[in-house]
């Protein structure tokens, strides 16, 4: 629906309303990102002035085995969690889409872990994963199943942290639900009239229409997963055992605030962003672009 051309005065007052937000974005996001990009090429310890180092930071990182481990861990974490999270969000949204009796309660149940604050969430899982006394291993033992050492064993530590991420799919759940709501009823009526079963409806109607939402969700999730490991790793394992759960954000924090090397910390973050950006581009190409356009 077209609006009549807004009067210049009206337009100006709209921009005034926009001003605080734009100012905030500039000061809180654009300037720091630019500073970060700049710092990555310097040596800065927070006390004396930054010293230009060109590409030296990146060259050091390329030869640093600890950074290689951190980058690998971050990528493995993303590869492990993103597909699962999107699949779980999709599955739950399909299950809880129809407005049946009680569906609201189920939806809330699904969202509860997402709303638990990250510090509390990490401590809770630290207890649940405790190999000797935590309820998870106690439950597994009572069922006669093997009881791994979870956060203490370097092979299961990263998967354990990945598992905790699988419960916090509230945002994705909401996004897919929104996407499902956008599918007009007529489509379902038409497909039923054609005699299509539920599986066929799902494949030929729902999924293609959901595709752009799922793509958006995947991209957002890749970005979130690349950096959401900070609090869990810091509180649950400190990056151990023996670097098994060292991720780039944690390494960046340690490098900047423990070794006072802000420049190298910024370089790490830049590298991670580049890698994540490449992943996103890959996802975008693989999905064949946006496809179905809709007003977002």
């Amino acid at each position: 629906m077209r609006r009549r051309g807004a009067g210049a005065g009206y337009r100006a007052s709209l921009y005034l309303l926009l001003a605080p937000y734009l100012l905030g974005v500039v000061v809180l996001v654009i300037v720091p990102v630019a500073l970060s990009a700049g710092l990555a090429f310097t040596a800065y310890d927070g006390l004396s002035a930054p010293e230009w180092r060109g590409l030296a930071n990146f060259r050091e990182l390329a030869g640093d085995p600890i950074f290689a481990i951190a980058l690998r861990n971050s990528l493995v974490f993303v590869a492990l969690t993103v597909p699962l999270r999107v699949a779980i969000a999709l599955g739950l949204a399909l299950l809880l889409n129809r407005p049946r009796r009680g569906v609201g309660l189920y939806r809330v149940a699904v969202y509860v872990p997402t709303i638990v604050p990250s510090v509390a969430y990490a401590l809770i899982w630290l207890w649940i994963f405790n190999p000797r006394y935590g309820p998870l291993n106690l439950a597994l033992a009572s069922l006669g199943l093997p009881t791994p050492a979870w956060l203490i064993d370097s092979t299961t530590a990263l998967p354990a942290i990945a598992m905790t991420a699988l419960f916090q799919i509230g945002e994705g759940f909401v996004v897919v639900l929104a996407g499902l709501q956008h599918v007009p009823e007529e489509y379902y009526h038409a497909s039923a009239l054609d005699g299509a079963g539920r599986a066929a409806t799902l494949r030929h109607i729902t999924m293609p229409l959901l595709a752009p939402w799922l793509l958006l969700l995947t991209i957002r999730d890749v970005i979130v997963s690349a950096q959401s490991t900070f609090t869990p790793a810091l509180l649950m394992t400190g990056g151990g055992p023996y670097y098994a759960t060292l991720f780039v954000p944690l390494l960046m924090y340690e490098t900047a605030f423990d070794r006072f090397r802000f420049g190298q910390g910024a370089a790490m973050m830049l590298l991670l962003l580049v890698v994540v950006g490449a992943l996103i581009l890959l996802a975008y190409r693989a999905a064949g672009g946006w496809g179905y356009e809709d007003e977002v």
Binding site: P20, Q181, Y188
Partner: protein
């Protein structure tokens, strides 16, 4: 929904509830374990089987957690920050969303793209250099450092929520108001906002949760013990006694209870504003 015979519907309804209950159990049972763990007397040898309710029940753990640390003050600080952040965020985000909804298409799409791009920027990319910016502004160790994100509506997502809400409102209302000579601010205040109550409730809930849970910002920007928020307090609790599980779980419960309760209370508005059952999509509102 296509019509089916009543006899064929029952198994499907049962099937749905079975599946949904299983899902809900998986998501909620760990919470029960945590509450049980928080009520166990510290100092006892830890349990050897899953304990749904310890014996004796040690409510004193909750008192102890408040004794060891000035947790009440931390809680107060968290409440203060989150409480201030909510109205400020609603203000900035709804202004921005309103402006975006009213502007002509080109400006609108540019701002939408900006919002999406900003949303993609991870906190860890700006966290370090924001520290340097805030240091220059002399805001380290102040509540203003924690509240700084309100300037951008706390998150572009909130701006988008308001944008969607305002776009759904009938354009005729705004045209009529403009013809009467009302300015943007008045239209926002008297027409747009009252109609966007679900959006306001959703943003209020999400903002409160965001600031209540915030750990990385206080970790970096706060130094004085009396300014700490609950998130930092829990971390300190862990450092004081890393394997005192009953106390740590009690602390975790103290931190998560308020937001979980808020979710349960405000969920109706939350769903209707963020996506499912959005008014205007032609579907019936979900039963609760």
């Amino acid at each position: 929904m296509t019509s089916r015979s009543a006899s064929a519907r029952w198994p499907r309804v049962l099937g749905f509830h079975a599946a949904a209950l299983a899902v809900a159990a998986v998501f909620l049972v760990p919470g029960l374990w945590v509450v049980a763990a928080s009520l166990r007397r510290p100092g006892l040898a830890p349990p050897t089987t899953i304990e749904w309710l310890p014996d004796p029940v040690a409510w004193s753990n909750y008192a102890r957690v408040f004794e060891i640390l000035p947790l009440a003050r931390y809680l107060g600080n968290s409440l203060l920050v989150a409480g201030l952040a909510v109205p400020l965020t609603i203000l900035v985000a709804s202004w921005a969303g309103f402006a975006m909804a009213q502007l002509p298409p080109r400006a609108r799409y540019a701002l939408l793209a900006l919002a999406v791009v900003v949303r993609m920027v991870p906190l860890t990319a700006v966290w370090l250099t924001r520290f340097l910016v805030l240091r220059e502004l002399g805001l380290i160790d102040t509540i203003l450092a924690l509240l700084a994100p309100v300037w951008m509506g706390s998150s572009p997502f909130f701006v988008l929520i308001f944008y969607w809400a305002f776009r759904r409102q009938p354009a005729a209302l705004f045209e009529a108001a403009r013809l009467e000579g009302m300015g943007a601010l008045r239209i926002w205040a008297t027409i747009a906002m009252p109609l966007a109550r679900p959006a306001v409730a959703a943003v209020a809930l999400l903002t409160f949760v965001q600031y209540w849970s915030d750990f990385m910002n206080p970790l970096l920007y706060l130094k004085s013990d009396d300014r700490y928020t609950l998130a930092l307090g829990l971390r300190v609790l862990q450092q004081l006694d890393a394997t005192n599980w009953p106390l740590l779980m009690a602390g975790a419960v103290v931190m998560m209870l308020p937001v979980v309760l808020l979710l349960v209370v405000a969920q109706r508005a939350f769903w209707s504003a963020t996506g499912p059952d959005r008014p205007g999509t032609g579907r019936r509102l979900g039963a609760v």
